[in-house]
Symmetry: C2
Subunit: 438 residues, 2 copies
Amino acid sequence: VPFPSIPELIKKKRDGAALTPAEIEHLVIGVARGSVESYQAAALLMAVFFRGLDDTELAAWTLAMRDSGRTLDWPGVAGARIDKHSTGGVGDKISIPLAPIAAECGLRVPMISGRGLGHTGGTLDKLESIPGFRTQLSIDEITSAVREIGVAMGGQTADLAPADKMLYALRDVTGTVESIPLIVSSILSKKLAEGLDGLVLDVKVGNGAFMKDADSARKLATRLVAAARLAGCPAVALLTAMDAPLGEACGNANEIEESIAVLRGGGPPDVAELTVALAAEMLVLGRAAGSLGDARALAKRSIDTGAALERFRKLVARQGGDPRVVDEPSRLPTAPLRAPIKAPSDGFLTSAHAGKVGLAVVALGGGRGKTSDTIDPGVGVWIRRKPGARVARGEVIYDVAYRDPGRFEVGRRLLEESIEIGPAPSPAMPLIVGRIDG
Amino acid sequence: VPFPSIPELIKKKRDGAALTPAEIEHLVIGVARGSVESYQAAALLMAVFFRGLDDTELAAWTLAMRDSGRTLDWPGVAGARIDKHSTGGVGDKISIPLAPIAAECGLRVPMISGRGLGHTGGTLDKLESIPGFRTQLSIDEITSAVREIGVAMGGQTADLAPADKMLYALRDVTGTVESIPLIVSSILSKKLAEGLDGLVLDVKVGNGAFMKDADSARKLATRLVAAARLAGCPAVALLTAMDAPLGEACGNANEIEESIAVLRGGGPPDVAELTVALAAEMLVLGRAAGSLGDARALAKRSIDTGAALERFRKLVARQGGDPRVVDEPSRLPTAPLRAPIKAPSDGFLTSAHAGKVGLAVVALGGGRGKTSDTIDPGVGVWIRRKPGARVARGEVIYDVAYRDPGRFEVGRRLLEESIEIGPAPSPAMPLIVGRIDG
């Protein structure tokens, strides 16, 4: 049966009918090959914005995006390939301690991450603050590293899910970013191209996250888990708090330092707890542990024995980074100037608005307003008092490392705005708000 | 105030807010100038498909399309410029007798028409069946003809409403044709570029029309009239029947012959009646008559005295056509082969499906399946028995003029399908179904 014309397929979606998997493949692969024009893709994306995609359509869309490029395969590799994806937050360095822990506990972790944009940071940017660390790995480099040391942390390559790259660029300029099924297919297509046996999703909730409330985060998580499973990849999602920054360090080099502290068994309690929780989900999905309790114990042991830190050292060395930073964090870059941001009054810290702290890091030069911006790895913010704490007027809430006084002024204003002090602590969102396991 | 970015403006429409007139002008003029990319225009068109445009937005959109190119102006010209637009039907040759009648009664008629596409014929194609007749007139040729003989009948030029041409081409390939406000703005922008004092709209209703039922036709007519008035052009719409072909001739040359018969005071009653009704609306809008009754009398007199026919002869000569066709229609091209289509049974003719007759004309070579097709002017269909007539088995319903026996076979099948015979006449749609005068 020949396919209806591209305009007919656009009209079919526009009028609310479900496209068949073959029709979706024809459209998505057509985008990658150029047989569907960019203006036709744009009209289709807007029709999807209004009409959505049902679970079958979404799985087909995701698989077509995955299959628009190369996929990783793992002949003869023992150990389940499991990865984690976060929808993005402020101070979210969890991938950095998590990947070596999971690898140390027997999983294979071919982790392909993104860069920061807007108020959210990016794992690749943080890793690149380690002198010499290379994230632009080829597919062959990723697979050989995973075979040999169980883990690789790289960026998206041109040959992985090219249809996603094209559609994402188009969504950005056509007002079609904010569509749950388009977000889901974009996230999953890249991850599924890694040839996974399972995927753990960390869906952030709060003012520093894409999803501001638990209901919408739950909807996104539910669709992510359902689509991943329909596409043949078992998945679990945690909904986690992003109303205040995660941990104490927000920036790039300082987040590496904090990640190393977690791998040493220390670090801020929220980062340590979420790392272990996500590791446990990965281990159960990959059948490296029989229960979440066993899995937590396994993950903690890898930290306590120093084995996970050792695995991280190997990862750094393998990707060209200076492994001495693991023992000497002072080898990480740091900005020359320091200033504190202080409490304006007595009371309880009721908010350290994650979104504003994230924008402050961007203002300092540690993030990107647009994709072409470069990162200054040594600037950043340390959160000295977390929401819920009793504070006195003049007490230091944040310490700031900066290079440029003009940029500091913008960052300072945002940081001051992020602080709310009240007569009593406000009820805190729990770190783990919910769990969706399909 | 600087404009929001193009993606922000697309999102504003997407999310259901009204765009300001300045924002709409920025977008539409941007399409014509290339500062809005085709994929952004496509996303915007799909957002408009879903969200619509309110009356203020629609008037602004129409004016921006008009102002994307040249507009005709008429310094020192006496007599109101009034035009007529039909939404398209089968056998609809009304413009051809109408324009000279209106000019003869004192109006100025700078009529810019379209070509046929799909089952609907086009005025330009019909006129070009007159040997030598030129429809590709420049703006200067149109204005000088209107100044000197009161009427010109040409095609859209590249410099009139170029944004409409670009957006229409884009709608055609992005599944965004079927949007009332986009249809309205497309129709009106070209007509308003003629520098009119008034516009009469003939909105067709029925199986041979874009609007299949009276309700949707009434909605389209209401928006056309409201937007034209808001854009500064008084307008009136008639809703008219298009369930069966208009008149007896469907094709090109044979429709010119029928038009001449109407200008001689003969012709099929429905064509004659609708011509006078539309002429009367034009004359009242242009203040050439004080009432519709007076206007009808004036129009009829122009026919009875032969003055309208004389005006048509001048029009033909001025545009390079052979004026002898007016007295000798045998000079019009005609296809070499003839065949009748006969009634399959006794009874009453309950339907001569206009859509199918139109497609039969296309199949014979007298219309276009796609815009690049060429027209065979001499092929066509004559309707010998109109719906409501009592017919006997074997009686001729249609006569067909054709050139290619293979094409005839396709046309014959469609014509046979168009015939319905029942035991009693079915209630006929009145010729004029309704009137919208804002």
